[in-house]
Symmetry: C2
Subunit: 227 residues, 2 copies
């Protein structure tokens, strides 16, 4: 049974009209027709079972027969990272992180950033696709660029991965439900690290070797999942 | 100091000639000249410090002043996986896995494979680049396609990730120094799973959700690293 995403479907809907894009995909590409039964998810934990009652290729209409509410995962996995110069790297990270259970991704504007813009719409699409692929029901929140200091002040007490010397805890010691900060290609500045530590962040030892930004971010996800 | 890779350098070399490609990169691209000091690694744990004594752009010659031997990491991280239909996914996995400490990657010919060939030379280049980037000194071995049964018989007692029901241990329970089998997009066949179990493999619970092949392989690496 194919899964469709609709952010705007309501749990008391009896009928639902797929978007023009999803209708085309459903009727023209996947060749579903009148009476076919589909899965619709809203990214907020709800799964709708719907039957096609109008197979119009631009305005496919479904009758909703059942709504299933899936519980929210216990852990809250929040990574706040500098976008990489080459966005492919962030996109790969996002796909993997959603599969593994990312709850929220924030982009940070840091001193050493080589990029200070993201295409949020494109990232949303990747997140939706990874959510569907991995059979998850919650779409992670993607937060647009915010200055490092502003983020740290608004979200004190978390974890930071940096390459400078200093006291660091092990990845196995961290607990989830606190944000994990990952810096740009040139690392955080020393001023930024000091600012985070002053705001209750703990530095974490990520690897004995030098990790790329997106590999460090993925390591943070595995650490927060505490597998 | 830039790092160059040379598989054929010997620890008793007093002088060394960079390959034509590396010479060009060194002299034309990075603009090193007579007297510049470089790092050469052989992927077998040795690091050579060399000074340019002939800055010919096709036959750059170095005088070796020092050889440093780096100890082999304690853990042996061996993933044996089916190649993904789209090789980008394997390549991305390989880059990340080398950064994290992969020791050996074997490709498996499974019943449900959608691809039965790999470009080993291209994968080697990715591994060399990730080794240099992460400041590692050991190049993982890449083993060309081998039939599932043949591999399992030759390497009994390891771990297998599959999506069927059955007894599974947790990722936190595995120890390294045993191979981890990851299946193709359509999973291992039930016959293959049974064959592995008969040969001392233990099934491992990878995630509550459906992971792509390369995400499962990366999860195996994190599991074997037992972070």
């Amino acid at each position: 049974m194919a899964t469709f995403f609709a952010a705007n479907i309501s749990t008391d809907s009896k009928e639902f009209l797929l978007s023009e894009e999803e209708s085309k995909h459903c009727i023209r590409v996947l060749r579903y027709g009148l009476g076919s039964v589909l899965d619709i998810i809203d990214g907020k934990g709800n799964q709708f079972i719907g039957k096609i009652i109008d197979d119009h290729p631009k305005r496919c209409k479904l009758e909703i027969s059942e709504v299933i509410s899936h519980p929210k995962p216990d852990n809250f996995i929040h990574v706040a990272m500098a976008p990489t110069k080459n966005m492919d790297r962030v996109e790969w990270f996002l796909e993997k992180a959603v599969e593994l259970g990312l709850s929220k991704l924030t982009f940070l504007k840091c001193e050493n950033n080589e990029r200070n813009s993201i295409n949020k719409e494109r990232l949303q699409k990747i997140a939706v696709s990874a959510m569907k692929q991995s059979k998850r029901y919650y779409l992670p929140e993607i937060q647009d660029l915010i200055s490092f200091n502003q983020f740290v002040e608004a979200n004190p007490n978390g974890y930071i991965g940096h390459c400078y010397e200093g006291e660091k805890i092990n990845l196995t010691e961290i607990r989830n439900n606190a944000p994990f900060l990952i810096g740009p290609e040139g690392d955080f500045s020393k001023t930024e690290v000091a600012f985070a530590l002053k705001n209750g962040y703990q530095a974490v030892h990520m690897s004995d070797y030098r990790l790329r930004t997106e590999t460090a971010a993925l390591t943070a996800v595995f650490g927060l999942l505490s597998i």
